[in-house]
Subunit: 270 residues, 2 copies
DNA sequence: GCAAATTTGTTCGTATGTATT
DNA sequence: CAATACATACGAACAAATTTG
């Protein structure tokens, strides 16, 4: 035979899953039962299951069994919002959760989703190369770091860290180094105190494997099968100087993004 | 033991790789040598290597050995170009490869990259649900499909398929169903023949596992460890009607994207 | 071009550990 | 505590791919 046995077994199970014979959440037969069914050894059955696991079709739980994965209802974020729009507070103002926070559910009803985020964890850090480059400060300069964990419907959704030049505090924006939310929104606060208006931003989108902290927070496997979007948003003020750098990490299994260029007609998203 | 042995071996090798002791492209010791070195069985060593493989740190080649992966120099695509800009022909006009086609090499020199694409493979297809929704035609209606394979520096870079409503051909744009390039660019051609101008577009960005065809074309593993961006670009004309849907697939290991909103100062990308 | 040596890939059997019910 | 189910680990044999002589 052309293909190894474990791949044939995997293929057979994959067809059962994709045809709907095995439904999401349903338990597969145990390794012993599959061993007898396919006339292979238990190790070979385990190789087949491991292959399906890497493909993201099934997940195994020790002491319980192997289950067909449930797909997560994706959340869609629009990245091209009005850069001057700061209404809606911190959650909305940072990474573009403007507009409708609702979603077409399976039943066809509109499902309202709820946001929750932790208060910012504030630190003074030395700028890494990428931070220094984006904020146009010298390498190793101290910067303000404000870190949040963000949830939707109590599902871990994203990890976000914003970096500000240290000079902002001395020039009249002391609340940047206070832990806790800035109720009016950080962008409006900088406008009120320093006269800095966010008029533009650039997003840089990459995908990489999650680190251990991210994997634990998002509840994704630690082996990098499921990647994370890492979006670097560099915001600029009216003089063209960098205002802040916001780094947000989203797991790719539950996030999608929209970009609008020009007068795009308003309508339902795909 | 807290951690299983294969994870400890993997961790030891990972530190050697990340510390630079094992350099990209370098061959690891053979499974037999590692077995003797760590005092484990060959199968346990293989489990460790498989873990590193899933993490994307090493790759094994049958008959040769296990090697530290070389990172691919990423290509950066700007998604927010002027929607009316159609200069540069087909390559540039479809998915935003406007501007500088150059890149900072390791040595610090500017390295010019070369594009190549196959002539379009043209087909008449029935619209799937997503195509019908985006083009605002009835489900099952016939549409024109133009498919291309695209390379940069002879590396497979992306797979792109554009869909047009069938009506465009009857209304005076017959070249859409001819195989081969439209030299002036498809957007300009539609403007010249039908008076349709592309004034806006919406990009919808997702990440998923590659299918078999994509994995073979891009040379990535078939097990889904390395995902692909799938970008749906719906373009609109001056009346707000959909002009075409372009679906482009990029492997995540060699592609990054930039979005500019507002007057972003021109400067070097990260 | 072929044969041998090297290296990873697949499969089996067995035993024991760990998590959950 | 006992039963069940997956996780780890060992040893062995042969197959397949590649390089070397």
């Amino acid at each position: 035979m052309a293909n190894p046995m474990y791949r044939q077994i995997a293929e057979d199970l994959r067809e059962q899953i994709e045809s709907g014979l095995l439904k999401p959440g349903q338990q597969l037969r145990t390794e012993i039962e599959l061993r007898d069914h396919y006339g292979a050894s238990r190790n070979t059955v385990r190789d087949a299951i491991k292959w399906l696991t890497t493909l993201g079709l099934v997940e195994t739980r020790p002491g319980q069994g192997t289950f067909v994965v449930r797909k997560i209802e994706p959340y869609v974020t629009t990245l091209t919002a009005d850069p001057k729009n700061t209404a809606g507070g911190d959650i909305a103002d940072i990474i573009g959760l403007y507009g409708e926070i609702s979603d077409e559910a399976n039943s066809g009803e509109k499902k309202k989703r709820t946001f929750f985020k932790t208060p910012p964890q504030v630190e003074i850090q030395k700028a890494t190369e990428i931070i220094a480059t984006q904020l146009q400060v010298a390498d190793g300069t101290q910067v303000i770091s404000r870190h949040e964990r963000r949830y939707i419907d109590s599902t871990p959704w994203s990890l976000q860290t914003s970096f500000y030049p240290m000079g902002f505090v001395l020039k009249g924006a002391p609340r940047l180094i206070e832990a806790g939310d800035i109720e009016v929104g950080a962008v409006k606060y900088l406008g009120d105190t320093l006269g800095l208006r966010q008029v533009a931003y650039r997003d840089w989108i990459t995908v990489r494997a999650p680190d251990l902290t991210e994997a634990l927070f998002f509840g994704v496997p630690q082996d990098g099968r499921i990647g994370v979007f890492e979006i670097f948003r560099t915001a600029f003020d009216q003089t063209g100087a960098p205002l802040r750098l916001t780094v947000t990490v989203f797991p790719t299994d539950r996030n999608q993004f929209i970009i609008n260029v020009g007068p795009v007609p308003a309508e339902s998203q795909p």
